[in-house]
């Protein structure tokens, strides 16, 4: 009971802070719009994949990108907590470290999912006005996509928390963008189909858990085109989901451990 209340307290704090920091909310809307309109529009005048226009093609990727950036940064944000000492207040409370970890994951996932919901609204509008034809936004397709995004987000928040718990100051932020967030995004098939990849690139993409999230969501929202094929096996969304789930479970495991060992 007490652990649940503590988890709720952490979730409450994260959600309140997110909603009050308008700059975070606004940038979470503007950034994907830039991708869809400028990259999507610009490149889309020259290329198209999988029988749909380029904007439609990258829409699942943009969803994932939002989840990726917001959840990893959410996790790393605890470095800041440690600096202004709110972390001390939480760490000294009679709560298990595991519960603190869970509270943080729930808070981060909520932030991310709120942003994703806004993106779905944008998706509806763009489909309606004809910018993104071929996007199947239905109640069930959105629900399944949300399940994918939630599972991915949990794993990614965990990565952020693992890094944040080990970092001593926010100076390492830039490194995390360069060496983790961008590679995970670019190597996920968000922006291009991953059939017929050059041999040196393929292993990186297949090792990236985000790839399977993109693949799953794209299959659901667009269709079977340009799917991930490993050997001769085409991955079903079910299999994609299992891979993403496995990734998240592993990250939660490592994260719980990292939190227990966290130094102030």
């Amino acid at each position: 009971m007490s652990e649940l209340k503590g988890i709720y307290a952490l979730w409450y704090r994260e959600t309140k802070v997110f909603l009050r920091e308008r700059s975070r909310v606004i940038s979470s809307i503007i950034n994907p719009l830039l991708w869809l309109l400028i990259i999507g529009g610009g490149l889309g005048s020259a290329v198209s994949f999988g029988g749909v226009n380029y904007q439609t093609f990258i829409y699942p990727g943009v969803l994932i990108q939002t989840a990726l950036f917001s959840s990893v940064f959410f996790g790393v944000y605890i470095v800041w907590d440690k600096k202004v000492d709110f972390m001390k207040e939480v760490l000294v409370a009679p709560m298990r470290r595991t519960s603190i970890f869970v509270g943080k994951i729930l808070g981060g996932s909520t932030d991310t999912l709120l942003q994703i919901l806004i993106l779905f609204a944008i998706g509806f509008i763009f489909t309606f006005v004809g910018i993104m034809p071929g996007l199947h936004l239905t109640v069930s397709s959105i629900a399944i996509s949300l399940a994918f995004l939630l599972m991915t987000t949990i794993g990614l928040v965990s990565i952020g928390l693992i890094l944040g718990s080990q970092m001593e100051s926010p100076e390492g932020f830039q490194l995390i963008i360069s060496f983790l967030v961008f590679p995970l995004f670019f190597l996920s098939g968000s922006l291009f189909p991953i059939t017929n990849l050059p041999n040196w690139l393929a292993p990186f993409i297949f090792m990236n858990p985000v790839t399977y999230a993109v693949d799953g969501i794209r299959t659901i929202l667009i269709g079977e085109q340009e799917k991930v094929i490993i050997g001769a096996i085409q991955l079903s969304p079910m299999l994609d989901f299992m891979i993403v789930t496995l990734f998240s479970i592993i990250m939660i495991g490592i994260g719980t451990y990292a939190f227990k060992k966290m130094k102030l």
């Binding site: 009971m1 007490s2 209340k5 503590g6 709720y8 307290a9 409450y12 704090r13 309140k16 802070v17 009050r20 920091e21 600096k83 202004v84 000492d85 709110f86 972390m87 001390k88 207040e89 939480v90 760490l91 000294v92 409370a93 009679p94 709560m95 298990r96 102030l264």
Partner: protein
Amino acid sequence: MPIIETKKLTKKFEKMIAVDTLNLQINEGEIFGLLGPNGAGKTTTLLMLVTLKPPTSGTAIINGFDIIKQPDKVRKSIGIVFQDPSSDEILTGYENLKLHGWLYDMPSDLREERIKEVLDLVELTDRKDDRVKKYSGGMRRRLELARGLMHHPKILFLDEPTLGLDPQSREHIWKYIERLAKEKNMTIIITTHYMEEADKLCDRLAIIDKGRIVVLGAPKQLKKDLGGDIIRLKAIALDVDALKKLSYIKDISSCEGEVCLTLEDASSHLQEILNVVGKIESVEIRSPTLDDVFLHYTGRAMREGTPEGSWAEKMMHASEKT
């Protein structure tokens, strides 16, 4: 059986020993002070006791639980007010207190009652719905205090509780702390470099310097042990040897260009002393303070550096330590 017992508690940093084989016993229901200059190791000791910093060696038993082996159980028995602000700036004062109530699993009616009580105490009731970002330094400090006092733990740690507060709010806080100790039989450990605070509040205190206990005892006893009153005088031409012949003078020392004499019942001996000293520029009789105790045992004045350190200095100090 003491409620807190440290056993050779030690914390080493790369170049220095912050806390050096500390052996302390603190009894239930007492207000115990750790008094010392900045950097003496008070805060580090506290952070180890509340399980936020692992000791390099040694350990402590708090409420029957080992801080290294049973940190979860230790945390259930304690509360702490940190020296540095640890409230969330984006939340309001009230929300910060509510979060605290949740984190400490307080029933909701008790929580609301206590929130009201502590907000009144620190005079923040009319600002409770403002974001902490808009609070002044002193207001933040008071909010921290309110939060730490809210859940009435068995053992309460206060790290420089009244730092940067005006005298009036300081009085209020002291009274509340005394009441908590008395009515709830709460054990309170307080670090401070305010002599007055230590003197007024603490049942017993340990003077700490360079990570070690210099002396430990009740403030009254410590002052009494110095041996009576202090006469401080400035003479035109002082004959120390003549003074030394007066057997009732226990100690003669120079303090900042003047002479300090320690003796009992100073006022009745004053005339005789003045006769020996001859012409004087100034003379002062006073009872010893904890300052004198510190000076006596360490050979240094306590108020070196920045006793009344500003917020900025405090923050820098704290971030250096962590």
